[in-house]
């Protein structure tokens, strides 16, 4: 049984891009984006053969946070903990249900506010 990861942006969940769920087993990499963001690459939900196709194919979750420098490792650690959670459903970032834009992504034992995810953008390969 996989662990499914949930992401939501603000926006009333009335648009296709407002919320996404992807399986933890589809994670391909976690990378820093710039000073205030990081990205998670997933095998695409379009199921079009990620490493067989001739063109890049991946779903991308781009998370923006309020911290500036030296925090990629901290966010990557927290994200890996969510990826490896028991599941089957794990919220990584739910901005829609946190009016103060404080994400619930955090390491075990750390209180809310340690991680301030302010924006979630998901791009699908299809």
């Amino acid at each position: 049984m996989d662990n499914f990861l949930y992401f939501s942006d603000s926006g009333d969940l009335d648009q296709a891009q407002d919320a996404h769920m992807l399986p933890a087993s589809a994670v391909m990499a976690i990378l820093p984006d710039d000073g205030i963001g990081y990205k998670i690459h997933f095998e695409p939900r379009a199921n079009d053969g990620v490493w067989e196709s001739g063109t890049p194919a991946f779903d991308l979750v781009d998370l923006t946070h309020a911290f500036a420098v030296g925090n990629f490792k901290k966010f990557a650690k927290a994200t890996v903990e969510r990826i490896n959670a028991i599941g089957p459903f794990t919220v990584v970032a739910d901005i829609e249900h946190n009016d103060d834009s404080i994400s619930i992504v955090r390491l075990q034992g750390e209180g809310p506010g340690m991680y301030g995810i302010t924006e979630v953008a998901v791009t699908s390969a299809d």
Binding site: M1, D2, N3, A24, S25, V27, M28, A29, I30, L31, P32, D33, D34, G35, H41, E43, P44, V50, W51, E52, S53, G54, T55, P56, A57, F58, A68, V69, G70, F72, K73, A76, K77, V80, E81, I83, N84, A85, I86, G87, P88, A125
Partner: protein, 267 residues
């Protein structure tokens, strides 16, 4: 009895480029003031630990000043640090003077426009002054002896990465002192391979005798990829050049004497 579902757990492997934190206590030599000469610049060498082959750019660092003493208006900072009425923008604390003031121990992040990097690989940090020739009256910042300067590394795309262990394809030796770790491309492109190229010692002394650097790294990669009772679903700093952690050993032991880590993504 309800069945407990358990998602697949695997180790996630963390790599960074070679970058070092830099901390320096300002000395009189750094701030020797000649308002008509070139030494007006506040210049610091941040190449103590080296940046590998990377050229550091100003956008990849943040610079912080921790104040040694209380500072009033005699210590000048640019208008970007206060609201014009003596209110410190960084913390919102009123200073009661026309220029923001700081308490001893207060840590302030410099505005991005207040510093630049020079030298061959960006190893020379220059902080603009608020006054004098070539002053930056907006972002400039006059430091004094005793202030502490922290330069923190900003990971940006291509300078750090985390891969799940099952993305690891294998390793190949490029030379006796260079090993290439290969991963399935993060973008899923056909035949694409992401690589992390390590520069290391040719020979590693172990309790089993000497091993080649390649053999040692291969052995360690197999260990960190393997989910065991001790590492199952872990975040493992495989080559963390920033915090000096290698193959998950928090003691900082770098048996293979890895001096460089270059991440390259297929695109």
């Amino acid at each position: 009895m309800a069945k407990i579902t358990q998602a697949k757990k695997e180790n996630f492997l963390y790599f960074t480029h070679k970058r070092n934190k830099f901390t320096h206590t300002v000395t009189a030599a750094n701030v020797d003031t000649d308002f008509n000469g070139a030494d007006e610049n506040q210049t610091f060498s941040i190449a103590t630990g080296g940046n590998g082959v990377d050229t550091l750019t100003a956008g990849q660092i943040d610079v912080f000043i921790t104040h040694a003493n209380d500072k009033g208006e005699y210590t000048l900072v640019g208008s970007g640090y206060n609201d014009g009425a003596g209110v410190l923008v960084a913390t919102g604390r009123a200073s009661g003077s026309a220029v923001a003031t700081y308490k001893a121990g207060e840590r302030v992040k410099l505005a991005a426009g207040s510093y630049s990097l020079g030298g061959t690989r960006g190893e020379t940090l220059t902080i603009d002054k608020q006054n004098g020739d070539n002053a930056d009256t907006t972002n400039g910042y006059n430091v004094v002896a005793g202030d502490k300067i922290d330069v923190e590394f900003e990971p940006i795309a291509g300078t750090a990465v985390v891969y799940p262990a099952d993305i690891f394809l294998g390793a190949k030796g490029a030379s006796t002192t260079s090993t290439v770790l290969m991963f399935k491309a993060k973008e899923g492109v056909n035949d694409g391979v992401d690589t992390v190229t390590l520069t290391h010692a040719a020979t590693v002394a172990t309790n089993k005798g000497n091993m080649s650097g390649f053999a040692y790294i291969s052995d360690m990669m197999a260990a960190v990829c393997e989910a065991t009772h001790f590492s199952k679903g872990d975040f493992i700093e495989v080559v963390d050049m920033y915090d000096d952690i290698f193959f998950g050993d928090p003691s900082g032991r770098n048996a293979a004497a890895i001096t460089q880590s270059i991440i390259a993504h297929a695109s």
